[in-house]
Subunit: 379 residues, 2 copies
């Protein structure tokens, strides 16, 4: 039953041979079938795609970055122009991250302490401060359906003392974020950090769950660890997360990692990879990536991927796509991005279907790429 | 009645106070209402727009450039991938120019004589030859619905001897192009040169008409002459062109010039200006151009143009478009280009309606920009 604020997460079935689960996340702006992949519209726009084109890929929820929007156009402008949904023209569910990851990866940090972080904008060098309260307030004002706690994402590898400090801070900040959250029409997710250390992950999970969020994210993965380490963390951590709440693995979008994450019981993923690879002319297919500038596509009249129902595959040949990339034409990145996002949505859709019938293990027959180490060609 | 090759041009009405005429051009790939504006997909793609988005602007015919396609991907690739319509995914009418204009404006010419032109590719410096026969053969192979004679476009200003030589060559080449044309499912238009010299224009028109083409183009304008000089040439020349054949003013797309051209009796126009301006964040409106990076749009929740029915105006605010341009996001150029092309198609559609009722002179009331000298902000 949808709660009074318009939200619901319900589980619809489980896979037979893994921890994978199929579900439905209802938000005030629509329904998201899970496991779900969320493409990333960093500044409130998918690079090269209109909202209509994004919807046609089967995407049901978009992620935008609080860090980027806070710097430009600023929360006041987004709020003044009606909030993220109206601003971006995407009237379906939106999730904003908290800016934590970007502060620790993109910005030049000036000072960090238990209260928050002072950093310099990567755009104009101006000095900016983020604290749990400020990050939450900004997200309240941006107005996404789901907002995230402000966390400290430690690097990998990371020495134990540094990792412990990041986990402690992530826990303390989670409490402050929850207390600062002021909108009932937004769900707020907590984030579990802890690197590849099972003990730290467990401590962080217990404490963040104790705070009580609407969903839980696994942060700090896909930042340098091996695939096996990622799977190891997920295998240990997922059973400790509340079974009735959505679980979100942040920053993951390589087919192999998506499959592993779904098998471990993850419900949501996000990544820039389909659009970033698309802009570079690198195209996903079920059997592995294509590089569109390759000479062998020159006279190829076939679609990017046989059997794909995306606009690019229905309309254009590989030879035409190659021509667009060789000529540096804007349409090439747009079409390759449309295909790549649709590819991941087809993969997610097929995984949802197979979870329902308990047959998720057959995915590699249809998408051999989920077993390939280079399914991602530039993660 | 459509002829055996699938073509027809018929006039449907005339304006009361000008030489403007409304018509219908039927081609094997569909109908074009005239006067028509043809957006330019230089390399076989509209910059930033899919064929679906282009069709949604109300565009009924696209122009592509033989010069660019001849260099890359080469006619063999386009032909091998099924011809321009299949290659580009635009299954409606297409017109290709002959390459003459580009050879004389973009390429480094090595040698020019009565037979043809040797020039170096602006892409890789390779030596390439175009003659009337080669330019026609390439266009036969590209497979547009309408192809153009290979002409010599003189610069403006131009000394009389040079102008006479260009006109003589354009006439001689027109004959050879007509003789070389080998496809019955393509119409071929001749081009009239002659700069701003009425005498040369008359000689060229008479001789090119004598050759006998399916339509006639006015070339060599919008290359540096004043608006008044352009109008003067059109006023003198149009009455000398066969009344029952389409008349095409090449390279013109500024609102003021479109209005003047239509009043003089022109049926077709093409220009890169709506997409080029769009990429730069310069947006057409009925009352004059907007620059989207301007600070005053920051919190403006209104559409690019009140009353416009384009996708950009129906979905997004000026404030959002400004944000896209400030952030250098690809979607900005796409949306501004969609609006600009739709703007010109709305202008053309309204001119067609008003010709039918004999009221074309009221256009400036609805589109004051057609009287402005800066209706074009970077032609």
């Amino acid at each position: 039953m949808v709660d009074s604020t318009g939200f619901l997460f319900e589980l619809l079935g489980n896979d037979a041979g893994s921890f994978a689960r199929r579900g439905r996340l209802v938000t005030p702006h629509g329904v998201v079938q899970t496991p779900a992949f969320m493409p990333v519209g960093t500044i409130g726009a998918m690079k090269g795609l209109t909202p209509v084109q994004l919807a046609e890929t089967g995407s049901e929820i978009m992620l935008s970055n609080t860090y980027h929007l806070a710097l430009r156009p600023t929360p006041g402008v987004v709020e003044g122009l009606g909030g993220l949904h109206r601003f971006t023209g995407w009237d379906r569910p939106i999730l904003t991250d908290s800016g934590g990851f970007q502060v620790f990866s993109l910005a030049k940090i000036n000072r960090i302490d238990d209260d928050g972080v002072d950093f310099r904008s990567h755009i104009d060098g101006s000095l900016i401060r983020l604290t749990p309260e400020i990050a939450t307030d900004i997200q309240n004002r941006l107005g996404a359906d789901i907002i995230m706690a402000f966390d400290q994402c430690p690097p990998l590898p990371c020495d134990p003392a540094e990792l412990t400090a990041a986990v402690d801070r992530t826990i303390a900040w989670a409490k402050r974020c929850r207390a600062a959250h002021s909108r009932s029409d937004q769900w707020q997710f907590g984030i579990v950090q802890g690197g590849v250390d099972h003990h730290q992950r467990r401590i962080c999970a217990e404490q963040v769950i104790e705070v009580g969020f609407d969903g839980y994210a696994v942060g700090g993965l896909s930042v340098g660890e091996s695939h096996e380490e990622m799977v190891d963390v997920l295998t240990g951590l997922c059973p400790r997360l509340p079974g009735d709440r959505p679980r979100y693995l942040m920053g993951v979008g390589v087919p192999r990692d998506l499959y592993a994450g779904v098998r471990a019981g993850i419900d949501m993923f996000d990544c820039v990879i389909p659009t970033r690879n698309g802009r570079h002319g690198h195209v996903f297919t079920a059997t592995g990536p294509l590089k569109m500038r390759n000479e062998r596509h020159r006279l190829d009249g076939g679609p990017l991927e046989e059997g794909c129902d995306c606009y690019a595959c229905r309309t254009f040949s590989r030879g035409y796509l190659r021509h667009l990339f060789m000529a540096g034409e804007m349409l090439g990145p747009t079409l390759a991005s449309i295909h790549n996002v649709r590819f991941l949505q087809r993969l997610m859709g097929r995984m949802r279907d197979l979870i329902s019938t308990g047959d998720l293990a057959t995915i590699p027959d249809e998408f051999p790429v989920v077993l390939e180490t280079d399914g991602n060609d530039e993660s």
